[in-house]
Structures are given as C-alpha cells and as structure tokens.
C-alpha cells in the first residue's frame, strides 16, 4: 500500500515512500530526518508539530503526508537562513521564551504565522492565538513577550 509522495520542503523538492496512513510529521521526522518538528500529544492539541503548509500554520500530526503532495512545506529547520536566526527565533532567544525547547519549534512556527497577518499583536491576541500550542516550562510569560517582540522585529 506504499506509494511515493513529492513535495517541497524548506525550498527543496523531496520525494519519499509513504503509506496512506503516514502523517506529515512522521514523513518529516523519519523519512527526511527533520527532527525539529516534534510530537507531544496524540489528540492534535499540543502544537509541538506545527509547520507551515502553503504558507499557513498547520499541525503536521493531523495531516497525511499524501495530502501534501505538491505542497510547499516549511519546518523550523527552514526558518533560519545561512545560520542567521529569523527575527522570531531571535526574539525567543532575547526574551528567554524557551526552556526545555521541546514545544519551541511549534511555538515559533505558530508565532511567525500570527505575525504575518497581525504585525502588532496585543498581549491578549498573542495569548489567544497560542491556544493550540502548549508549553509546560515557561508559564507563557516570556513566550508572549517573545512573540510581541518577534512580530515587531519581523516588520524590519
């Protein structure tokens, strides 16, 4: 029942064998070795697996790899260019928006998506946007600060 799927991941065309039931997150982690995208739950709630598909943040644990045939996927590994942190990544570092780092890739990918259509989010808007991203370390205080700062920095 295996087939192959081709998609663009972080700007490069990739092809791999998948089963129909293979989730995008497993294709990324196991077939492509992109282990920055994490799995923290099995009910599509924690958001550790958030990536961008065709420019929008989605939970890669709740989309099949085959559904992404031809899609443009960006993971946390594709965000920093040439070793320079993306402004949102930089903001998380500057504001101590991460501790254990496990939720961080999903958190950053979600935050980048927010900032793309809301360049100056309020604290409340950030907190509401992050409904689908759980963090157990930070109490969210510094994540919220990071997202606000990162969104601002993204405007250049």
């Amino acid at each position: 029942m295996a087939s192959t799927v081709t998609m663009t991941v972080n700007g490069k065309s990739v092809t791999g064998a998948v089963e129909a039931r293979t989730l995008l997150v497993h294709f990324l982690r196991e077939t492509l070795g992109l282990t920055g995208t994490h799995v923290g739950c099995d009910t599509s709630q924690c958001g550790a697996c958030v990536v961008h598909v065709d420019g929008k943040s989605v939970k890669s644990c709740t989309i099949l790899a085959v559904q992404c045939a031809g899609a443009d996927v960006m993971t946390i590994e594709g965000l920093a260019k040439d070793g320079t942190l993306h402004p949102m990544q930089e903001a998380f570092r500057d504001n101590h928006g991460l501790q254990c780092g496990f939720c961080t890739p999903g958190m950053v990918m979600s935050a980048v998506d927010l900032a793309k259509h809301n360049p100056a989010p309020s604290e409340q808007e950030v907190r509401e946007w992050l409904e689908g991203n759980l963090c157990r370390c930070t109490g969210y205080h510094n994540i919220v600060k990071s997202v606000i700062a990162g969104a601002k920095a993204m405007q250049g």
């Binding site: 089963e19 039931r21 982690r29 196991e30 992109l34 282990t35 920055g36 995208t37 994490h38 799995v39 923290g40 739950c41 099995d42 009910t43 709630q45 924690c46 550790a48 993971t75 946390i76 590994e77 965000l79 920093a80 942190l85 990544q89 998380f92 570092r93 500057d94 101590h96 991460l98 501790q99 254990c100 780092g101 496990f102 939720c103 961080t104 890739p105 950053v108 604290e123 409340q124 950030v126 907190r127 509401e128 992050l130 409904e131 991203n133 759980l134 963090c135 157990r136 370390c137 930070t138 109490g139 969210y140 205080h141 510094n142 994540i143 919220v144």
Partner: protein, 793 residues
C-alpha cells in the same frame, strides 16, 4: 560583575540548537538497524491474566519478537527498586511489593505493562499488539484511598493489610496534644491535594542498544539523572555492571520530577536489545504517558492549628492519606513523609508539630515527586489553615503571618521538625508583595467588582521550601538508600579551554549557560572557552542528577570545588615558574600573580605548562590540569517567599480569572536573573494549573482514567494565565560558599495556596470557608449556586 559573570542575564547558549530544530531528544535518535517497540498495557485497573497467547502476534508482518513477563522472569530480571525505606510508627518497615517491568499474572492499574512487541516499524508493532490473545479475569478495583483502607477492602497486595504501605508518624504528639488542650482557638480544615499528571511536553522515550562485540549495553532515555538509572537498572533489575552499561540522557524536554524515576520501559528495551542484539526504540504516545508516567500529589488531609489569644501559633497537627498508586515508584515513599512533614513549620515559629501520614496502595498509576514534591502539599495545608485561622480570629491574613514569622535575626533557626533554616527575611518579601499587589487598596477593587456583579478576592501564601537536596548522612539516617552529593570534573585543556563535566542534568534549566557563567567568573576566562557536558555516563564520571532544586546548590558547588582544585594546582605550577613561594601566588583577572609584584602567568600559560611540563616541579606535582570534586551539602537550603494572587469570579459561569499575581522570593545568590525569573514563571504556571485547571480523575468504580488526554486533562494554556509580577530579595545561604538556595520549585509551591486563598476570599461573603482544587468553573458555580439557594430558602 562582568557581562557574563555571576549576576548577569546572559542569553542562553543552548537556545540556538533548540530554536533551529537541531536539539537532540531521545526520539530524534535513530540507531542503525533499529527496531520499534510497542508496549501492550492493561485495559483494566485490577485483573488476573488467565490467558496470554502470543502466537498470532509473533507471526504478524514485520514482527521480530514478542516478550511477556515470564520471559523476563526466566532471565532473573529483577523488579524496579524503591529508593527510600520508611518505617511505620510501630517500627515495622514499609510494605515493598515486587515491581516487575512486565507483569506475570496480575495487572494492578490501567496501563500496567503486559507485553512487548518488537517489529520493524512502530505501526507494525502496534498492529500486531491487537493480535495478542489475552484473557483477563477482572477483580474489584480499589480507587479511592478511603475505600482502600476500609476493613474488607479488596487487597491489591497480599502483604499489605488494609492496602497500607506504611503508617508513619513524626513530631511531638504529646506536646501537640497539650498545646491543643490549652489553646485559645483551634482552626481545623479537611482538604484534598489534587492528583496531577506532570505532562512534560516531551513524552518519555527509550532506546536500548547492545553491542555483541563488546558486550556493552547503551540506553538512551528521557531522564533527569542518567547515572541513577544506570545504578538502579544495572544493579537491581538487569544485573549489568556499570562498566558495561552506558546511559545517555540527551536533550530532555522537561521533567518536573516525572523523569527522575527508573521506569519499566527503560529496562524492557535494554533487556530486549540484549536478547535480539538490535537497537529497540520505544516512544510513549501521550495517552500512554497519562497511564504510565508517575503522577504527583494526591493527599487527603485533616489539618488543625492551635492559637493563643494573640493569634500566635501554638501547635500544628496533620493527618494525611497519601496515595502510592499500585506500586512504589523510585522516590514515592519519601515524598509525603521526609520531604513533607519536615516543612510543616513553614516560615513560622510554631513550637510543636505532629504529623501522621498513612501511605496507601490503590489501583492507580504510581505517584511520586512532581515539581515541589511534598513541599507544595505542606505549604498548601499550612497556608490554607493560616487563612482559616485568620478568618476565624478576625486578624488580617498578612498580619497573622507577620505575628508568627521567624524573626530575621533568629537564623540559623532550628524548627521543631528537624530542619535548621539557613537564612531568610520573610518580612521583607511579604512587604514587597503587599506593596506590589496594592494590598492596602484591595477593598476598593472588591467593591468596584461587586458593582459589576463579580466576586473579587485576594490571597497570600508565604512559603518555605527545602532545596539543595541533600546531605547524604541525613538522608541515610532517614531511610534514603542513596547519597545525594554531586560530582564535577573541570578539565583544563592544554590551550586553556575548559570542559566541565557535571552530574547535574539540564532539561530546560539552562545549565550550559549558568554553569559556564560560574566557571567564567571564577577563572576570569571568557564563557566561550568553557563547555558544559552532562547527560552521558560515558563522559561524566558520576552524578545524582537534577531534582529538588539541587543543580546549583549541590552541582554548582561541586563545580566550584573542582575549579578551586584547578586554581590550587595552577598556583603550584605558577610558583615554580615564577620562582616564588606558593603562598605568595594569587589568582586574579585570569592570571596567577606573585602578590605585590607585576610578575604573573596567564591561565593559558599555566595550562600549557601542565601538559608540556618541560619546566615543571615533576617530583612534587603530576602533569595535567584536570580535577574532580564531589560535594556533599552540609544542609538543605531554604528559599522562601511571599506570593499574592488576586482573582475575580464571574458568578454566572463560575469562571475564576487571575487579575494579578505577584511573587517576591528569596533564592539566595543568583547567577542568571533571566533564567531564575523563567523558572519562577514556569512554576507559577504549574501551581496555578493545580489550583484552577488540573486534576487527574479516575472513575471511582472501574479505575479508568477519565482525564486520559488533553481533551479532558486541562493543561494551562497561554490565555489561562496572566503575566506575572516577580521580584527577588535575596539573602545568601550561609550553608554553602556560593550562597545559593535554588528556585526551580518555588512557583509551584507558593501559587496553589495563594490562588485558593484568593478564591475563598472572593466567595467569603457567601460564607464559603474552603474550596477544593482545582477550582474549575463547574465547582465554583456549584458552590455559589448552592450557597445562594440555601440563603434564599
């Protein structure tokens, strides 16, 4: 202070890899030829296994092996050990039932490990699990502790009458009884400390590996203390000598206590890797985490406080039932006893204290330390009963606390419950919080909220905790089966760069930064030339790991000792090179200098000399510059603080909103304020979660977990929590040379009582005296509804 030294908010060095997706968590590791494991778990809380046929599963596609408990038993695999022996009041040792990694004949909680399927892919292993032919004969499940200790209750363990593990007492019973007889007022409260599921965001995972050529086993695991796992698994379970067992705990995605313990899955994959001579990976699904990670808290308590006419505390008495779950997890037995009852003095001068703690087996997941471990439970009961006493005596909650604080000039202070506090200033932290929270202006805000139809309340919690766990001899005298020192090795390389090997483990705490700051400050060399290594038993000589806010107070002190040894040896080398007396050499600004002269040798020159010892005092000194130190603390450390929470309750829905949260803490000396604040925030998030959102609920009859996923277990989200107002007033510890105390658990210890005192205060106009945690909308609405209905009737 330099810009990277002690006291500087240096940005974390570990962040780059985490932010770019280049961390290496256990599940990110794949070994060549790796197979995948699925653990078949009990669907029942209590049952006999009457049939277990593996034939169909073994022949499923991709399946390499199926193992059951009998296979492990045939290999003489031992049980998971418990690390702390508690004796009952009658002198008998606790009941310590067997804890095999895979059960053989009976399951005792939903999620108990029944079989292991090993297959080429994870999906194949899981597919095959459904072909396992298991027949269970269900037994009555014992779920609540009060049911468990009732006469005639089903016994989970034959050897544990009335399902009791131990019946422990502590303190001065006669003295307390006398004080209660003579008291002006007695406050009494029954309360529950709700069961929590730790929920580190990274689910547990383990990869067992075996090299047939060398006979060496390797376990990659999500652990807070790889050496402890090596010791427990090697010595007690699999009988593998340390020399042939390597345990690696790479990047670990949060622990909060839940990754301290030696878990069955670690032993299962390591043993099976040996049987098959193949690497085997197991990664928990979140739903498995809910039924296999050790849970936290779960106490049912009665507490009483005796007061004199001026509101001075005369005596405290506690009776607690503490849930152990179905088996004893590694440190389960010391949490409600040694780490709990010894904290009952809190920040107060209460002269006599008595505690009775009965540990109870139930058909639930084992319970062990979770952020704070025994101390949040102590703080919660103490700070709730103090508020009840304040309410009943009409003394303001801030004032009654002040009247009973240990005076600032009374340190070191010997409490009646064994501990000797190092230092503190409870008045100042309380004053800071009162001011930051505008306590004086609260009644105006309450009135304004009332005009909008809302109940507003304010709550104080002043807490103490014992960190820097722990002096080994004290631990040993109290039944601990381990030493709780820490080790460090400071290896200076020939060019003057430094690698520090620490037995502490970082799973979010930022040790790679903080420890490098410490060494940079001591050696006055750039942070960039210092690397911190942890988490691998093949690299780090030994270690006891990270829990109980011990990393800096114990692990940091070991590093300091090792650095001192390096400096002392460097002085000898410098004395030789500079033709001076060793006593005249001082180490300053990165240079070994003859005091009072301009003659000096830089740190790097001394390092090079140690490794290229052409001009060297060879007869009295070995070449090389690599020092190891073990540090055993002489005492615990005692961080303290005052937390104030202000809430507003919507009576229409029962929703409690936190409108302000202030924390003023004393953590002793601080290395990196940014990281410390982050630790406080995280602890507060978990403490508020316990108070308002989280609670593990079992079906009282079937023993099924009703909150077995994020659909039903309420994890704090960003919009559930406020921004926090945190500050510190640091009184250095007098019991370690760094003056540090520890900050990891403070938030989780102080917050629950502060929040619940605020909730009760908000509802006090309705005559509410207590609200159980979590104060969910439903619970709060029901209380308001019942009170209003009763009033109307």
């Amino acid at each position: 202070m330099t810009d990277t030294g002690i006291g500087a908010s240096v940005k974390r060095r570990e962040d780059f890899r985490f932010l770019t997706g280049r961390g290496t968590y256990t599940d990110d590791i794949n070994r060549p030829g790796q197979l995948h494991a699925w653990i078949v778990r009990s669907p029942h809380a209590h049952a006999k296994i009457v049939k277990l046929d593996t034939a169909a599963a073994k022949s499923a596609p991709g399946v390499v092996a199926v193992f059951v408990g009998a296979d492990m038993a045939a290999d003489q695999v031992g049980g998971l050990p418990c690390g702390w022996l508690i004796h009952s009041r009658d002198g008998t040792p606790m009941v310590e039932p067997p804890h095999p990694p895979l059960v053989t004949d009976r399951v005792r909680h939903v999620g108990d490990q029944v079989a292991l399927i090993v297959a080429e892919t994870r999906q194949q292993a899981r597919d095959a699990a459904e072909l396992l032919d298991i027949v269970y004969e269900e037994l009555p499940a014992v779920v609540s502790m009060t049911d468990a200790i009732a006469p005639g209750a089903t016994q989970i363990w034959e050897q544990a009458a009335r399902n009791t593990c131990y019946d422990w007492e502590f303190g001065d019973r006669a003295g307390v009884e006398k004080a209660f007889r003579e008291a002006h007022h007695i406050a009494k409260l029954d309360l529950v400390n709700n069961r929590l599921v730790p929920n580190a965001m990274e689910p547990r995972a383990a990869i067992g590996d075996f090299d047939r050529a060398t006979g060496e086993y390797t376990l990659y695991t999500t652990s807070q203390n790889p050496h402890v796992i090596r010791l427990l698994m090697g010595a007690f379970v699999l009988h593998i000598p340390e020399s042939r067992l390597r345990v690696v705990a790479p990047d670990v995605g949060g622990g909060f206590g839940s990754k301290i313990y030696h878990y069955a899955e670690e032993a299962i994959v390591t043993w099976a890797a040996g049987k098959l001579a193949k690497p085997i990976k197991w990664t928990a699904e979140r739903s498995e985490s809910f039924m296999s990670d050790a849970h936290g808290r779960d106490h049912v308590t009665t507490v009483e406080l005796a007061l004199d006419k001026d509101g001075k505390f005369l005596a405290l008495r506690e009776h607690t039932l503490a849930n152990m779950g179905a088996y004893l997890s590694t440190f389960s037995t010391c949490i409600p006893t040694i780490l709990h009852a010894t904290l009952l003095a809190g920040v107060y001068t209460t002269p006599v204290i008595y505690a009775e703690v009965r540990a109870v087996f139930t058909n639930t997941v084992p319970v062990d330390a979770y952020r704070g471990a025994g101390r949040p439970e102590a703080t919660y009961l103490l700070e709730r009963i103090v508020d009840v006493a304040a309410d009943e005596t009409g003394i303001d909650p801030a004032e009654i606390r002040r009247r009973n604080f240990i005076p600032t000039n009374a340190f070191p202070y010997q409490t009646p419950v064994a501990l000797k506090y190092d230092s503190g200033d409870y008045f100042t932290t309380l004053d800071m919080s009162l001011k930051a929270a505008d306590y004086a202006g609260f009644e105006k805000r309450r009135a304004e909220a009332a005009r909008r139809g809302k109940y507003r309340g304010i709550g104080i919690a002043t807490y103490i905790e014992a960190c820097g766990i722990a002096p080994s001899q004290v631990v040993g005298a109290l039944g601990g089966r381990a030493g709780l020192y820490e080790s460090a090795e400071v290896r200076v390389h020939p060019t003057g760069s430094v690698t520090v090997f620490t037995g502490a483990h970082s799973h979010g705490q930022g040790h790679e930064t903080t420890f490098a700051q410490l060494v940079s400050e001591m050696l006055q060399i750039p942070m960039d030339s210092i690397e911190i290594v942890h988490g691998d038993t093949n690299k780090v000589a030994f270690g006891m790991g990270t829990y109980g806010s011990r990393s800096l107070a114990v692990g940091g002190m070991a590093i300091m000792k090792a650095v001192e040894k390096v400096v002392n040896k460097g002085k000898k080398i410098a004395a030789h090179l500079l033709e001076a007396s060793e006593a005249d050499i001082e180490y300053k600004d990165g240079k070994f200098q003859v005091a009072g002269t301009d003659k000096s040798k830089a740190f790097g020159e001394i390092a090079l000399t140690a490794y290229v010892p052409h001009n060297y005092p060879m007869e009295t000194l070995e070449p090389g510059l690599d020092e190891t130190a073990f540090y055993d603390p002489k005492n615990f450390t005692f961080p303290s603080g005052a937390h104030i929470c202000e809430v507003e309750i919507d009576p229409d829905t029962g929703v409690t909103r936190i409108v302000n949260f202030v924390a003023s803490d004393d953590f002793g000396r601080i290395i990196n304020p940014m990281i410390v604040e982050g630790q406080v925030h995280g602890g507060l998030g978990q403490g508020i979660g316990q108070a308002l959102l989280e609670g593990c609920v079992y079906d009282p009859k079937s023993g099924q977990i009703l909150t077995g996923s994020y659909m039903d277990y309420c994890m704090p989200r960003a919009d559930d929590l406020p921004s926090f107002n945190v500050a510190t007033h640091n009184v250095p510890s007098t019991d370690n040379a760094l003056g540090v105390k520890g900050c990891g658990e403070a938030g989780a210890i102080g917050a629950p009582a502060a929040v619940m005192n605020a909730v009760v205060d908000a509802l006090s106009a309705l005559g509410v005296k207590h609200v159980e945690m979590p104060a969910t909308p439903q619970r709060v609405w029901q209380i308001i509804h019942d009170k209003r209905t009763a009033k109307a009737a």
